[in-house]
């Protein structure tokens, strides 16, 4: 992380190369796995019963891949993200399956689900890093940004002096377009967009291999959203980390993701490239979600979204969870679930 560019250079840096769908597929095929989830189940143990928040999740995240996860509220997308990073707290438990992490230094793969707290702690920020939706809730409101940055940097590399850590913190802030002197500010003195960008800068402090982003732009307006996305993509292209990006905004995911996962009722209902999801989504839910976003450049026609409401996870049907809302459901869909 010695090659940080000042903010102005980032803004004027060349746009990352625009790939075709074939180039994206070829890049992913050539890139080794970084994180592999096998048959992952996450359950919330509640008084009302066991809530199957994620079921049978199989996923391979490649190095440098941008993976989008889309779905409605309560589809299990944030639960999945927390489980991949093993950040979930009771009542959520990983009730089945495993997550394996393949370090980029080609040391032995490690199973996240069975790592000790201490091993996990070493890997947080340096390998696995997180950007949450509500920046204000993540940053400590009564501690200056500087201490929050230097804490993270020195925790993971105690040999870094205070001065060097401060300098690096300033560089990180500038990287996301915030002047370094704002390190002296308290989080509440920054605008919502700046807080969110400060959090992104913080997530990159220890040069992670993967950054989990949970709705990082939902709380800001479209212009700030575009600025934040552009910065994320610039940094990603330069530093090469992988991103798992969770949001309900499928149109945004289509623009940035190498691959997209569509979740419904705690399960993956479809996985595909942005082009596949846009042009030829197979699952009726994917198609419904895809046509829930009014277009900007295509002609306007009457859209209907998806009638009905998301399923109650405590009373999931035997068959396909989407069947009660599905325009093409048959008797078979109600009786059996297909994978």
């Amino acid at each position: 992380m010695t090659d940080l560019l000042p903010a102005t250079d980032i803004l004027h840096a060349e746009t990352p190369h625009i790939e075709t769908s074939e180039e994206i597929a070829a890049r992913l095929a050539a890139s080794p796995p970084l994180l592999v989830a096998e048959n992952l189940d996450v359950t919330y143990v509640t008084e009302a019963g066991e809530v199957p928040a994620c079921r049978n999740v199989n996923l391979t995240l490649h190095r440098g891949e941008i993976l989008g996860v889309a779905g409605e509220s309560a589809s299990g997308k944030s639960t999945l993200l927390n489980a991949l990073a093993r950040l979930q707290r009771p009542p959520a438990i990983t009730s089945g399956g495993k997550v394996t992490f393949y370090p980029t230094d080609d040391s032995d793969p490690m199973e996240i689900s069975s790592m000790s707290e201490e091993e996990l702690r070493e890997r947080r920020w340096t390998s696995l890093s997180f950007v949450m939706q509500s920046a204000m809730a993540c940053l400590n409101p009564v501690i200056r940004l500087e201490s929050q940055f230097t804490d993270v940097i020195r925790e993971h590399d105690p040999e870094v002096s205070k001065e060097d850590a401060s300098k690096k913190a300033g560089e990180l802030l500038e990287m996301v377009g915030i002047p370094a002197h704002r390190l002296k500010a308290f989080p509440f003195q920054l605008s919502g967009g700046m807080q969110q960008r400060a959090l992104i800068a913080l997530s990159l402090a220890c040069d992670p291999d993967v950054v989990f982003m949970d709705e990082p732009t939902t709380a800001v307006d479209v212009i700030m959203q575009r600025q934040i996305l552009s910065q994320i993509l610039h940094l990603q292209a330069r530093l090469g980390f992988a991103i798992v990006f969770v949001t309900h905004d499928l149109s945004l995911l289509l623009e940035i993701s190498d691959r997209i996962v569509i979740m419904y009722g705690g399960r993956f209902v479809e996985v595909g490239s942005a082009e596949q999801i846009y042009e030829s989504g197979l699952h009726p839910y994917t198609r419904g979600l895809r046509s829930s976003f009014p277009p900007l450049s295509e002609p306007v026609r009457k859209l209907h979204g998806i009638p009905g409401t998301p399923p109650d996870l405590l009373g999931l049907p035997v068959g396909c969870a989407f069947a009660p809302r599905c325009p093409r459901a048959t008797q078979l869909c109600l009786e059996e679930r297909r994978n």
Partner: protein, 361 residues
């Protein structure tokens, strides 16, 4: 401005109009010095019967402040506001009567309803207070009608439920039913779908559109989502730094914007057709991210410091309001001079030109 050239929509009844409306607040800048914050700074706005007008712009552009003037929360500092042909000052004297004509829908249906009361109470209370029906059974019947009107059917199922039993979209429809209880002429909707899941957003948008078509309702919808605004509205007002910088029929604004800010706003919105691999880049060279500082007095264009086309004229002199030749569009940007379809109605060379000076306080 529209005095010079009349437009077809002028024949419809105007329900809401402002002329050079200003709302200023006293505030402090970062050094603790007292400053005047020009949240709304000279807005001409018109809403007709049976029309959905969208107000779009980024956070802090003044769009909510404008709506709050119409909802009697803020008082105008300067300028005229007319509501259903009556000056706002007169109309606001009797608040209950005023809210019978103008109703609000808020962003967060979770916060705008008492979660300890049943739907029949939440909607019925409005019916009672505004004496829209008799008592007891009549109120209940009216609530059922209203729920039916917003497609919450069967109404008997929903009427005894609590807000927590409903999904976000259903709750927002209850909020709309409650607004409709007084049979208003105008609905002000502040980001009514931004808290909702994408799949149920459309049901709320389609409902508002049906209410316009079937009941002749006038709707002001505030949003930063230009795709929703395009889907729903007849006209778009783009607001920046307390001013409406471009206004006109939705399709023309979206497909052929005049003001660089409008262009920026449209370009920033995610477009599913620009999926990765389609040859479009999600990365956009954004202009500096300096937020608008409305406390600085400014003669020219507030967007000039972010604008790629800005020249000295943009900051040195007031920007005239250019009008399209068909009278249907307005834009406050000198780029309109380069277009054949726009004229400057204040150009002294033009017959019947009105002299317009920026009114000072």
């Amino acid at each position: 401005m529209t005095d010079v050239i009349s437009s077809a929509r002028d024949t419809r009844e105007v329900v809401l109009q402002t002329k050079n409306l200003k709302v200023h607040f006293d505030g402090e800048n970062s050094e603790g010095k007292k400053v005047k914050i020009r949240a709304v700074d000279g807005v001409d706005f018109t809403l007709h019967k049976g029309e959905i007008v969208a107000l779009v712009g980024e956070s802090g552009c003044g769009k909510t402040t404008l709506a709050r003037v119409f909802s009697l929360i803020y008082k105008p500092t300067y300028g005229d506001v007319t509501v259903l042909g009556q000056p706002l000052k007169e109309a606001a004297r009797n608040e209950r009567k005023y809210y019978r004509k103008v109703q609000l829908i808020f962003q967060d249906p979770f916060a705008s309803m008492n979660s300890l009361k049943r739907i029949v109470h939440i909607v019925g209370r409005v019916v009672q207070i505004h004496k829209m029906a008799g008592r007891g059974a009549a109120v209940r019947k009216r609530v059922e009608e209203l729920l039916g009107h917003v497609n919450l059917v069967p109404a008997e199922k929903f009427i005894n439920q609590f807000p927590t039993d409903l999904s976000g979209g259903q709750k927002q429809r209850v909020a709309i039913a409650r607004a409709l209880a007084v049979e208003p002429s105008i609905i002000l909707a502040d980001e009514p779908t931004s808290m909702l899941d994408a799949s149920i957003r459309l049901e709320v948008l389609n409902l508002l559109s049906d209410l316009r078509d079937n009941d002749g309702l006038a709707v002001l919808i505030i949003t930063h989502d230009i795709a929703s605004a395009r889907y729903l509205s007849d006209r778009i007002n783009v607001m920046y730094g307390g001013r409406i910088i471009e206004e006109g029929p939705t399709e023309k604004i979206v497909s052929d914007p005049v003001h660089p800010y409008t262009e920026l706003l449209i370009g920033a919105a995610p477009d599913p057709a620009h999926y990765k691999g389609s040859g479009h880049s999600a990365v956009q060279a954004s202009s500096t991210n300096a937020p608008v500082d409305n406390s600085i007095k400014m003669v020219g264009c507030r967007f000039a410091n972010r604008c790629p086309h800005a020249i000295s004229r943009c900051v040195d002199a007031p920007i005239p309001e250019y009008v399209s030749k068909d009278g249907d569009r307005r834009a406050m940007c000198i780029l309109a001079e380069k277009r054949d379809d726009f004229i400057n109605p204040n150009d002294p060379a033009l017959p019947g030109a009105t002299s317009y000076t920026e009114e000072q306080l």
